[in-house]
């Protein structure tokens, strides 16, 4: 694997990009330390070659972003889609020009918001919200306390743990290991139909546990935006 982290053993003046710090870095600005420290190499690369720079971000943050998102959305495939979409947008919109925090902060804050919104959209689907809310792009509808994120995915984890043993096993094989119905059926000596039924019941159950608490917060959050 490529060396993504720049080597800090040298002092800054002798790094390959050893020019002076950006103007605001000298002020009391909080993020300067982080921007210029471990993400400097990525920043310089983004400026010279956008695609290569995004690739570096991928190598550094794709894995932790996916494993973080999966805690919310409960499915590998969904988590990876959410994360890829963020990177795609980062690339097409050249978002890096507007970011005045570390990329890490931006990317993780975004993935947490998207995962949070996705999950609530998913919970609300049954409540017949308009199809319009299918695209969870309302980044501003984020919770104002950071601990709400942790609370949400810990609730998800707890709900999964409450599933009956075999159902949980099937659920995890499908969602985390990404196995096909047929593969699960073969491995556990079950019919595909049984796997299907078990998966449906598992998601229904998880949904029912989360719904009361988190749907309410969605509604009150939205009404506070409109009134």
């Amino acid at each position: 694997m490529e060396q993504v982290y720049p080597d800090h053993s040298d002092n800054k003046g002798s790094t390959p990009f050893g020019e002076s710090l950006p103007p605001h870095a000298a002020s009391e600005n909080y993020s300067s330390h982080f921007e210029t420290d471990d993400e400097l190499f990525i920043r310089k690369t983004l400026e010279k070659n956008l695609r290569l720079g995004v690739e570096l971000l991928y190598k550094r943050y794709y894995q932790p972003m996916c494993t973080h998102a999966v805690k919310f959305v409960g499915s590998r495939a969904t988590a990876e889609d959410l994360v890829s979409e963020i990177f795609f947008q980062f690339y097409t919109k050249q978002t890096f020009l507007e970011i005045d925090t570390s990329y890490r902060l931006y990317l993780f804050r975004t993935v947490r918001n998207r995962a949070y919104n996705y999950l609530r959209w998913d919970l609300g689907r049954k409540a017949d919200l308009l199809e319009a809310s299918q695209k969870p792009i309302l980044d501003e509808s984020q919770p104002d306390q950071i601990s709400q994120f942790e609370e949400l995915y810990h609730d998800v984890e707890e709900a999964v743990n409450k599933l009956p043993l075999e159902r949980r096993r099937i659920y995890l094989m499908r969602k985390f290991e990404g196995k096909k119905y047929q593969e699960i059926a073969d491995e556990l000596n079950l019919s595909v139909k049984t796997v299907d039924v078990q998966l449906n019941r598992a998601s229904q159950y998880i949904r029912s546990l989360l719904k009361d608490k988190w749907m309410l917060s969605l509604i009150s959050l939205l009404s506070s935006l409109f009134f």
Binding site: R51, Y58, T67
Partner: protein
Amino acid sequence: MKAEINKEFIFSYLSGKTSALQKQMVDEWVKQPANEELFYKWLVEYEYQHPQYLTQLPEALKQFHAYADKFEADPTYEIFKETKASLKSSPRFWNTLMIAASLSLTLIALGWFFEDHIVYQTHSTTFGETRSILLSDKTQVTLNANSSLRVPRFGFGAKTREVFLKGEANFAVTHQTNNQKFVVKTDKDFEVVVLGTEFTVYSRQQRAKVVLNKGKVQLRYQEGQAQKQVMMKPGDLVTLDQRNHLQQIVTSQPEKYAAWKDHRFVFDDTTLEELGKIMEENYGLKVKIEDQALAKRTLVGSFRAENADELLEIISQIFNINIVRNGDSVILTDHSTAP
């Protein structure tokens, strides 16, 4: 306080081992931008140390480059176009959609506060009254006494057919060409899902029961923490007690459970005590039976009675007992033991 928050602290916070008070500390601490940076730095470290699974980075990169290639060739290319219909990619469509979404969400929020009045039309019966209601999908509902049925004013029959029942009602559900389900929800954590059929739902304080006359229904209910469901065939009678323990029996005469529709009362080894409950539920009468032995006596047969007094009259004749009615309270006493 600030000094207490370090990497170990955040790690245990991320793994869910923190108290509500400690969560509050994190919420405060992270408001400092420098701390927020630290938080995400530790979050990344945490994720690297406790991966839920291992991603396939090369695959993801290949996907990204394929996407970037397309974007370079055509800068208007957007990922959403691939999956969504072309109409949806125009910005105007999104604006309209956003307005529509916010409007409808406002409505939902409003409805949250005035749910009963705006969203639902409520049909209810008082004691001793039965009523027939024809829903917009031609489903015939007969409400028994002291019951209420809430029907959504908007969208009923469009996407879903869901009604909310308190008390007892018989449903003759029309079958839709698109096999649309009809769902009867109750406040006892159970619901009945049907295609096209005839059945009676009973959901009162003591217990709940569902009797199926024709067709096929699915009963979903909650027992303790678990979500359960059972399929019913014609003639099945399912009862749920207060804790939603389920009992399923087959009855040869499902009609008799809906006999109240025709002001008929069908009793099948029904004790006087149970009869008292039925009178209470349907007519709002407080029935008191002085004698335990009398309360255990049972009644078999089918009777026609237009109102509570007629029914009481019949019962007094059959059992040869004294019935004293005083307003809403009724006292049954045995002739032989009466002073």
